[in-house]
């Protein structure tokens, strides 16, 4: 499938820090691409460069195979992580304000239904809850029926239920054939929504691919965890186990063999935990630090 947007060797430096350090990737039309990384990894700066908010020091961005021009702003929709709307506007007025900036429109009625804003139209935008506000910001991002939608940590700060509701909205956008580029540091979110992810650390992409493919590539089928204090001797772990914090963890394709070895050594299995590896585990393995730590 043809790439809708191609990014080549982006570099952006701020005094004392290289926020983006040679990032390249491409997103095919209709795909959802996730940029993952801890705070300060460079994902928001990368997104801002693509949105046209920040100019890169070096690098090239091609949209539909050509350099970006004035039409680019008409073709993209953005949901910012931190943003504000003019004060004293109702939801309806805010939608109409942003709709007036574009030549192409998605019918407001359709958008209001999609983002479930029907009962909020006359409410002051400052009096919306977190989830309602994110739905309005998403509707604003979609007001011009964009080809490419940027979502910058769209569910940060939402409660679990609002987050899942928001995922359903994004799934709806994807069904409409939109191409989505999102940042997140919720691994579950990336797993559920993204066709492809790039893990960014210190301004560079350190791994890229489909979430399942990356996990299969880096991990055996399962992770077996057991608290260290359940082990008879912390300095004599069974084969395959390694210490991670206060747990001993083994990555294995043969769960039965791992359990048999633990039983043979008379390890109490009360607190044993067997799970499929997650993107959190992948990030930890690749970078040596957790996703939510800088």
């Amino acid at each position: 499938m043809a790439a809708l947007i191609e990014i080549e060797n982006l570099v952006k430096e701020y005094p004392g820090v290289r926020a983006v350090d040679g990032i390249s990737f491409a997103i095919a039309e209709g795909r959802c691409f996730g940029l993952l990384g801890p705070n300060g990894a460079g994902k928001t700066t990368t997104l801002e460069i693509l949105e046209g908010i920040t100019e890169p020091d070096v690098g090239q961005i091609l949209f539909r195979g050509a350099m970006r021009d004035a039409a680019y702003r008409q073709a993209i929709g953005i949901q910012f992580q931190h943003t504000a709307l003019p004060d004293f506007q109702t939801v309806d007025e805010a939608l109409r304000l942003f709709a007036s900036f574009y030549t192409r429109h998605r019918p407001l009625a359709e958008l209001i239904e999609l983002c479930n804003l029907g009962e909020l139209l006359q409410r002051d935008t400052r009096k919306l809850s977190g989830g309602q506000r994110q739905r309005l910001l998403l509707a604003i991002a979609l007001v011009n029926d964009p080809d490419l939608v940027f979502l910058d940590e769209p569910t940060t700060g939402l409660d679990p239920q609002s987050r899942r509701n928001f995922w359903a909205l994004i799934a709806g956008i994807r069904r409409d054939g939109k191409t989505v580029l999102m940042t997140t540091h919720y691994m579950e979110e990336a797993s559920v929504l993204c066709d492809e992810i790039a893990i960014i650390d210190r301004g560079q992409i350190i791994e890229q691919g489909a979430p399942r493919q990356l996990l299969a590539q880096h991990f055996p089928r399962a992770l077996v965890r057991i608290p260290l204090d359940a082990m008879p001797a912390a300095d004599d772990l069974p084969l395959g186990f390694a210490v991670h914090g206060d747990h001993a963890i083994a990555a294995t394709d043969d769960i039965d063999a791992a359990l048999a070895e633990l039983t043979r050594r008379h390890v109490a299995l009360d607190d044993l935990h067997v799970s499929a590896p997650t993107l959190d585990d992948l990030f930890l393995k690749l970078t040596g630090h957790g996703l939510r730590e800088p």
Partner: protein, 338 residues
């Protein structure tokens, strides 16, 4: 430039203005408080520093008699007709003509004029009957009438400087500018919308304040309404442009507030709103000539008190529009969304 986008931003900004009840109340209340406060304060005896114009003043500095009186500022006058007008409009309290025959002019409506006249007559007691008294009469001008055009202009100044300068800095700080930057709205469209919106708001508030103050104080309006509208429109655009220059890059509301005050205070003091700069430091007068409020007040006063028409204030209108064009060009070049 896309008119639809500009009008959409104008509407949004107007809604912000009229739905902010506290801000709206203050915008309407401030000019009334100023005018009524002044009318009250200056209804009693005026302050003790007097200004006396002198026609035919001797070149030597060793003055005797009345001209040696302390706490009176004696200001040499060249043009008799212009000096008499100054008496009429309270710019000087008394005019003395030392040429032959010795005469003096006083405004019967001026309390200061009355006091200075008493001093003059006492100093001249040794030569009774020589001084010829002339009364400046005709159209009476109270201090509040003289000060009112300036108060209307000051209201325009505050609303223009803060309503644009401070608001854009707030937009920048809270992320509204960043959000707008990501749309096809251009910087020029955004700035034009801010100017139009504020011009609309200032015009509406000024008309309201003008009419209601007139109902309360019954001040004179002797000149052309068209001229007054022209002067206020040109002055408002010049002051909005001045506010824009502050807003182009500043991110902190506190800094913006300080910079706006830095502009507002010299204009409050030096633009001749409260007292005439007659006889003050020449540098202060030159500085005043650079301030848009000075030309606005001067022209408005000439229209309202002297009955001037469009042609008589065209010079000030052109100066105000020139200031506006220069500041707008600078602001457009310097403007940053972030």
């Amino acid at each position: 430039m896309n008119l639809q986008r500009i009008l959409a931003v104008v509407s949004a900004r107007n809604r912000e203005f009229y739905r902010d009840k506290a801000g709206l109340g203050w915008n309407l209340l401030l000019p009334f408080v100023l005018v009524l406060g002044l009318a009250f304060i200056f209804s009693g005896p005026e302050n003790a520093l007097y200004k006396v114009g002198v026609l035919g003043a001797p070149a030597d500095t060793g003055q005797t008699g009345f001209l040696a009186t302390r706490h009176i500022s004696f200001i040499a006058q060249e043009d008799e007709a212009a000096a008499i007008e100054k008496v009429r409009y309270h710019r000087i309290d008394l005019l003395v003509d030392l040429r032959d025959p010795p005469r003096y002019w006083v405004n019967d409506l001026s309390p200061s004029g009355y006091l200075v006249e008493r001093l003059l007559l006492q100093s001249s007691a040794t030569t009774p009957g020589r001084l010829q008294r002339e009364t400046v009469s005709g159209r009476p001008v109270r201090y509040v009438d003289w000060v009112l055009p300036g108060v209307l202009a000051i209201n325009v100044m505050f609303s223009s400087l803060w309503g644009v300068g401070w608001v854009i800095v707030r937009y920048r700080k809270n992320g509204v500018l960043r959000r707008l930057r990501a749309t096809p709205l251009t910087a020029s469209e955004f700035l034009v919308a801010q100017i139009l919106s504020r011009l609309l708001v200032v015009s509406a508030v000024s008309v309201l304040v003008f009419l209601s103050t007139d109902a309360l104080l019954d001040f004179p309006m002797r000149g052309s309404y068209l001229a007054l509208i022209l002067v206020f429109l040109a002055g408002t655009v010049a002051l909005i442009s001045l506010g824009l220059t502050v807003s182009t890059r500043v991110r902190s509301e506190e800094l913006a507030d300080g910079l706006l005050n830095l502009m507002a205070f010299p204009m409050m003091i030096l633009s001749g709103v409260w007292f005439s700069l007659e006889g003050t430091n020449l540098w202060a007068q030159r500085l005043a000539d650079l301030l848009p409020l000075t030309h606005m007040v001067e022209a408005a006063r000439r229209i309202m008190l002297d009955g001037a028409g469009v042609a008589e204030v065209m010079f000030e209108v052109i100066i105000l529009l020139t200031i506006a064009v220069v500041l707008l060009a600078l602001s457009a070049m310097a403007f940053r969304w972030q």
